[in-house]
Amino acid sequence: MTMTPHEDRVVGEQLLTVKDLRVHFKTHDGMVKAVDGLSYDVARGQTLGIVGESGSGKSVSSLAILGLHRNTNATVTGEITLGGVELLTLTDEEMRRKRGRDVAMIFQDPLSALHPYYTVGAQIAEAYRIHNDVSKSAAKKRAVEMLGLVGIPQPDRRVDDYPHQFSGGMRQRAMIGMALVNDPGLIIADEPTTALDVTVQAQILDLLQKLQKEFNSAIIMITHDLGVVAEMADEVLVMYGGKAVENGPTNELLVHPQMPYTWGLLSSVPDITSDPNLPLRPIPGNPPSLLSPPSGCAFHPRCTFAARVPDNLCSTTVPALEQIEGKTFHLSRCHLRDPEAVYHNEVLAEGPAGASAIAAQVAGVLPNAPRHLDAEGGES
């Protein structure tokens, strides 16, 4: 049995607990272990950011929460407990009643997630009527109310519009309205702003945070963008090759990252405040094949520190996801000894642009940073 994470974390009631989740797909070429032993939990009112590259299993694991792998070639094992109810053992009918009412999803591409043939209002009303015994007109009223809540101007008129009459940002707002129509405890947002422009992205992220406060929902935010995670999430889970490799509070994880893959992510992206003369330090190689994953730690073929670990441990043994000593809640999956010293003495010493910007911000020296002014002109 893998360890239960977060045992010593003082938090409120955990709304969602995922334990040892495995999602395996049987294919002609063999078994694809898309998610392989994933454990995490989320409390009400909290945002968990799941970060990883394509193929890391971040989307597949969330689809499992919604039960969207039922009746496919996928084998899902483990435990997913939402509000005290074990989801994996529910019947299809019971799961259908949960879906949309207790857990809702916001997809990356709102144009394909919305049906082009029905008005936006009709689609929101449908989501409401499925779970509530109300009249059509009451459901439509509710749809107007939701559109207003997510900031669509003139919601009583726009409710009869079709998706193509909405702009990209408005469509994503409508999706958020649809997800929230039944006031679900858990919202899964899968790359909700990736298809949007940066100013619209900022609007949508602000909206999600505002609504989260209002509804006290838990949010799982799946993204590849560290910037989005950094601004939105209370806790971050880094996935690689179907497994969690690091998990901890956002600030802690960004300032004291423990796992070389997380170092790689931080070192390979420039920050908007980083010194442009500093280099980017990419992660060498390519993401692993899930059909024939590397032996031992899935990251070891790309890891520049694997040679440090004695007895080829990295290529033979999968490291356990373990609590970092001396931290209240910070888990890492790595054989490397004293990673914090390695990070600060060696990784940061090479001066990778993004990671150095964080270190500089922590140290309070930021020669090239944009000044942060509020609208009145005072320094904030």
Binding site: L226, E231, P276, L280, Q361, A369
Partner: protein, 378 residues
């Protein structure tokens, strides 16, 4: 000191209007999408200019015109001093080897039925820059330079990952030893860990071959990392252009300020806290019927009468900084009267003043040795 010859590319009043036609047999032209409307900029030889903006702002159209994949409606594209905007396709052929393009989508931009070797060799065969018998060796050299195994020249694109395909596209663009590369979102389709590999490769390309880059991207942090100079576009116009420190630290245009404030900032978030965001209300107006005067005024909190009447010129306000705003000023320090009125021959409300003419030649592709000082603000 910027002289004529130091710029590989100078673009003046570049404009692209796409006709919008009605349905039906006649297909009358009912309007124009003003995708790009009079932009001026220059790219130094061996240097790079970043072009940022949101979807629909015209940055890709600008790149395609510079590579002459599109024929501009109006304006000049001076490559090494010669205007190439109106050349015929026959006249363009010798030029193509000097201006190459890197595309966003590494899947769509490589022919799936050709081997990698053929893809990289084709430009050399067409332009006969390398003797037939040396082509294979040259292809392998290029593949090796971009970090691919030179033995893989006979493989097909589908056998490569996204990052590797983007490297193939880069090898193809280098085959003719161009002097200018137009890179249109070269890394946005790639995973984060792969993006850095490609950005580093492009920087190496630039150092090694002294190639000028027009680098088009929406990711503000990536552009800031790659380009010493950055231009911000909005609805077909350049609203601000400058060296990266000035543009990112002390932007003068309200749109640039909003754009930069919206960019996620990992370093800032790591210490808890987030920058104050400047909210932009509404959506970008239609480029078929853009607002009169300043195109940003419909979403601008500073907009006054003059903004609807006169379009602000892209004024040079510092050695390497130009801005197009009647009320250009640092965030929170808005000038009380329009800074542009005196140059435009209008009063503070934007009405023409009898006997006063707009100052000619306010806009130019290059930076000049003299500029207009903004009035002191407080």
């Amino acid at each position: 000191m910027a002289t004529e010859s130091s710029n590989i590319l100078e673009v003046q009043d570049l404009t692209m209007h796409f006709p919008v036609r009605s349905n039906g047999l006649i297909r009358r032209v009912t309007g124009h999408v003003q995708a790009v409307d009079g932009v001026n900029f220059s790219v130094p030889a061996g240097g790079s200019l970043g072009l940022v903006g949101e979807s629909g702002c015209g940055k890709s159209t600008t790149g395609r015109m510079v590579a002459r994949l599109l024929k501009p409606t109006r304006g000049e594209i001076r490559f090494e001093g010669d205007d190439i905007a109106n050349l015929s396709s026959r006249e363009l052929k010798p030029l193509r080897r000097h201006i190459q393009m890197i595309f966003q989508d590494p899947y769509g931009s490589l022919n799936p039925r050709q081997t990698v070797g053929a893809i990289v060799a084709t430009p050399m065969e067409i332009h006969k820059t390398v003797p037939e018998k040396n082509i294979k060796a040259r292809v392998q050299e290029l593949l090796e330079f971009v970090g691919l195994n030179p033995e893989h020249y006979n493989r097909y694109p589908h056998e490569f990952s996204g990052g590797q395909r983007q490297r193939i596209g880069i090898a193809r663009s280098l085959a003719l030893q161009p002097k200018l590369l137009v890179a249109d979102e070269p890394v946005s389709a790639l995973d984060v860990s792969i993006q850095a590999q490609v950005i580093n490769l492009l920087q190496e390309v630039q150092r090694e071959f002294n190639i000028g880059f027009l680098f088009i991207a929406h990711d503000l942090a990536v552009v800031r990392h790659f380009c010493p100079e950055v231009a911000v576009m909005y609805l077909g116009r350049i609203v601000e252009i400058g060296d990266r420190d000035t543009l990112y630290n002390r932007p003068l245009h309200p749109y640039t300020q909003a754009l930069i404030s919206a960019a996620p900032d990992v370093a800032q978030a790591a210490v808890g806290g987030r920058r104050e965001r400047i909210r932009l209300e509404g959506d970008v107006p239609s480029p078929i019927n853009p607002p009169s005067g300043c195109r940003f005024r419909t979403r601008c909190s500073l907009a006054k009468d003059i903004c609807a009447k006169v379009e602000p010129p892209l004024l040079q306000v510092a050695p390497r900084h130009k801005v197009a705003c009647h009320f250009a000023g640092e965030l929170g320090k808005v000038p009380t009267r329009p800074v542009t009125a005196d140059f435009l021959g209008v009063d503070d409300a934007g009405n023409p003043v009898a006997g006063k003419q707009p100052m000619p030649g306010l806009e130019s592709p290059d930076f000049r040795d003299t500029w207009f000082d903004l009035p002191p603000q407080g």
